[in-house]
């Protein structure tokens, strides 16, 4: 019923925008990753695989990448551990005030990343609130230094930031489970625990998968939390990219790492989408 003119009018402007501001930039990123930078810090537009060779040769890159993946894995696991029971509680136990409790999770989701990262910095620092609290209780006499500027601080901060992200899709998938399925399971003699493992959990897996993907991907590419609370031992792969684009001035190498990240993320999303189709029975 929509005319060709109508379809063109709605499709062409966003297509153009996306081409100019997403597709072409990715293409430029791709090109850069094969270029070089001269000792005089001039970009040389000659094509080679040197940047990729460098990434494999110098194991600092792979090491930091693996550390980033470990941190992302830890954040994902913790966010699921916090987010799933919360979603389950809201979906199955909270009857009164469900809406309010739901909004209470939504708010931190959209509230400033920087504000929340900063909050943790003030809490974990050696003159921070946590140390003040511990000394006030006489649990320690000296400020505990390892709270801040450690992978632990990065994991804690990012778990705080991404728990609501994992909560949401899980909650949505739990809400979509028809309640009569659970009654049917119990009617057929399954205990509540069995009902959970055999009915509820499998049906909520697509949500778990979506939530985990969010936490993992966004953590993997994070560079702000390590700068805020991570310190040298909390450095992640994106921090290397940031320094290559800044002080170290090696855009081609930075572009190569970014492109690897982009490919990693897109591949992951592709796999998740395939898996999700298998998992959802609707």
């Amino acid at each position: 019923m929509y005319t060709r003119a109508y379809k063109s009018a709605v499709a062409i402007p966003p297509l153009l925008w996306v081409t100019i501001f997403l597709l072409i930039p990715y293409a430029i990123l791709f090109c850069y990753s094969f270029w070089q930078v001269s000792p005089l810090q001039i970009i040389i537009h000659s094509w080679s695989l040197d940047n990729y060779r460098e990434l494999l040769r110098n194991h600092i890159y792979l090491e930091v990448l693996f550390r980033s993946m470990r941190i992302a894995g830890a954040v994902t696991a913790l966010a699921l551990l916090l987010g799933y029971p919360l979603a389950y509680f809201l979906s199955f136990r909270a009857t009164k005030r469900k809406d309010l409790l739901y909004q209470l999770v939504i708010i931190p989701l959209w509230v400033s990343y920087l504000v929340r990262g900063y909050a943790w910095k003030t809490i974990l620092g050696s003159d921070g609130v946590l140390n003040g609290f511990l000394q006030y209780l006489h649990l320690t006499n000296h400020p505990v230094e390892f709270f801040l500027y450690s992978p632990f601080a990065v994991i804690l901060t990012l778990t705080h930031i991404y728990t609501p992200f994992t909560f949401l899709p899980i909650y949505a998938s739990l809400e979509h489970i028809p309640r009569n399925l659970i009654e049917a399971s119990q009617d057929l003699g399954a205990s509540p625990a069995r009902t959970f493992w055999r009915v509820i959990l499998p049906l909520s897996l697509p949500g778990v998968l979506a939530g985990a993907t969010f936490a993992f991907v966004l953590t993997l590419g994070d560079f702000l939390a390590p700068l805020l609370v991570g310190g040298p031992s909390g450095i992640m792969i994106s921090n290397i990219v940031v320094s290559l684009f800044g002080a170290a001035y090696n855009w081609p190498l930075g572009a190569a790492i970014s492109l690897c990240m982009l490919i990693l993320v897109v591949t992951l999303l592709f796999l998740v989408e395939r898996l999700e189709k298998k998992l959802s029975f609707q």
Partner: protein, 281 residues
Amino acid sequence: MSANSNSPASPKSLWLTIYATCVYAFLYLPIAVLAIYSFNGTGVGGFPPKNWTLSWYRILFKDDAIWNTVLNSAIVAAIAVAIAITLGLLAALALDRANFPGKALFRRLVLLPLILPGIITGLSLLMLFVAATMKLSLLTITLGHGTALISVATTEIFAGLQKLDRAQEEASLDLGANHWITFWRVTLPNLKVSMIAAALLVFTLSLDEIAVSFFLIGRSNTLPLEIWSRLRRGITPEINAISTIILLFSIALILVWYRLRTRTSNEAAAVLPSTIQGEQA
């Protein structure tokens, strides 16, 4: 995790309630601490907070540098909203009703910034602007925000579009209105609420955005970047004060957004995941 009985009073259910309470505490304690210490006379840190004062807010209100960046951020956010809503509306309409070669790729590309770490969007745009010899400025940041947030606007408006009965538009055509009049008189009024909701969300997210802006910054700072650069110089309760204000402002916008979103949908829970699970939209 599952309770032995459905009655809320059962012990396992109690444990679950306690656990959920702890999660809420984890989510809110840091934010609360931040706000509390903005009133602490002896600065950030130490326990318990003492010498309650409003002086940090007083200092903040006299800090012209901060307020300039607030203005910058507001301008950036307003234009980013215009970009994201216009293109998001068109993209949602295109995804809903047009079939063209490469549509699947287009869908993925539009929605990708939703889940892609900001650094990649920021860097690739930086390279584009450098290649186009554009000077980095608030304009480049605005373009960056607009581009990244089209994804949010698209999913929000697409969800609104799914609730619009196609027969409404057919009725309009049937009654003699052409496509253009139908768009203005029927399609747009029906999408009004989801567009306002999307605009609020995009505005909030743009106001708080830092990862993309980080790479596209010129001479004038946005508010988050100003805070970021001050953090390098050390923590002051003034930052707590501005953070608290940002927090309250964001919460207000988010709550209005949430109300608007649930008003158009009976199922509050289904609302947000459509944004979050953008890649399935």
